[in-house]
């Protein structure tokens, strides 16, 4: 099948490759709704990893029932207030052929969706920026990016849940806690969550 390729991952896992992050989100949602037998269902940029799978044949049968046009249920919408004071705001403005206000307007106009988490607990890769707005990562990552920093890399947008080194271009910051292990839903931006940024 063209829309789905299963790649081997050892005796207890399989990596399902699909066309893009929307398809990965759709497949992950489909598999969870079908009560897939797997410890972990991990969407990626163009893949879904099924790990801790007791029966790989059974899993292959289940994912074969998925079609790429299966629209997942829209996730909850989260609004994130942002102070647009990032160190790379002017740099991004230049790349986008606009000024700082233009960046704020364009960034705020996009409804992003959390495709997958990685890099750090609760760090969501947010899809939605048009391809012609992609920006390269910094050639040299910063040693320390503060928690709450809102940044771009490629067409991804992300918010740092905790302070860490990082190479994303920073637009601003938010005080919203992205990650709290004591909450019943520890990650604010779990895969599937829709996100809007609101200038404050």
């Amino acid at each position: 099948m063209d829309h789905l390729r299963l790649r081997p991952c050892g005796p207890r896992a399989v990596l399902a490759e699909v066309a893009d992050s929307a398809a990965a989100r759709s497949l992950a949602a489909y598999a969870r709704a079908a009560r897939v037998r797997a410890d972990e269902v991990v969407p990626g940029a163009q893949t879904v990893l099924f790990d801790g799978v007791p029966d790989l044949d059974d899993l292959a049968g289940l994912v074969a029932g998925w079609t790429p046009d299966a629209e997942p249920e829209p996730g909850p919408l989260v609004e994130i207030p942002v102070v647009y004071d990032g160190a790379d705001l002017d740099d991004v403005a230049e790349r986008w052929g606009t000024d700082a206000d233009g960046v704020v307007a364009r960034h705020g106009a996009v409804e992003f969706v959390s495709s997958f988490c990685g890099f750090a607990p609760g760090f969501a890769y947010l899809a939605g920026l048009p391809p012609d707005h992609a920006v390269p990562r910094l050639a040299t990552p910063r040693d320390r990016v503060p928690a709450g920093s809102v940044g771009l890399a490629g067409t991804w947008c992300g918010v740092y849940p905790s302070a860490s080194p990082g190479g994303w271009r920073l637009l601003g910051h938010t005080d919203v806690p992205l990650w709290d292990p004591d909450r019943s839903e520890p990650a604010l931006l779990a895969p599937g969550t829709r996100v809007r940024f609101v200038a404050t």
């Binding site: 991952c9 990596l15 972990e40 990626g44 990650a187």
Partner: protein, 281 residues
Amino acid sequence: MSLHVASAGALTTVQDRGRRGLAHLGVPRAGPLDRPAAELANRLVGNGPDSALLEVTWGGLDVTADAGLWVAVTGAPVPVDVDGTERGRDRAEWLPAGATLRLGPPPVGVRSYLAVAGGLDVRPVLGSRSTDTLAWVGPPQVRDGAVLPTGAPAGPPAPLDTPRPPTPGPLRVTPGPRADWFTPGALDRLCATAYAVGAASNRVGLRLEGEPVERVRHEELPSEGMVLGAVQVPPDGQPVVLLADHPPTGGYPVLAVVHPDDLWQCAQLRPGEQLRFIRGV
């Protein structure tokens, strides 16, 4: 009841079976690196497999208990004594109230496990008492002076004939999800030479040094989910075997996957020691 840590050694962490079902939020699973050794320690003191114990790196642990309890030390064969009197490994030993249990440096291997009857009853985080050293989810690293509460013993200690951990050998590998990103025969060449364990190896990954693995595709891999035991190849061609605290997603292609039953050996290999891979099924 509690365990008082006088000296925590180089790196001591609390571990149970690890966190499951949270990889999609970016949370590593953690858990003991030498799983058979940790399971043995728990069985020896009569604990269930979910009990939390200590993973001790390079020995150097001194603890006392405020009430007598059964303990067991497994994994890297550290010298064990109680108030200066030698005690055995891989068996239950009685630690009297107030006595000091000491784990010396291991002559071979890296990680030892100390289980106490009833397990360590530290506060779970996201359903697990394991400490993940990548993002530091879970209980804090055990430091000098730490006081760790212990649970109520579930049953008597086990007899001495509990099965021992498996014997070492080449790590069995099967082709990984991105084997086609490498030159034909790359997996056979991985298995044909020995790799040395790098000094930067830790609970996140075993970093290997040896013949570089050559890629045929050089573009950036879009981030994808990673499994425990994935043999990931960064641009320098030096493979890394992902271990318990690995990031749940990564951007380097995976050539091969180590069989889960062989991964315990990665816990005990020292920097400079060699390992080999072998094609498995």
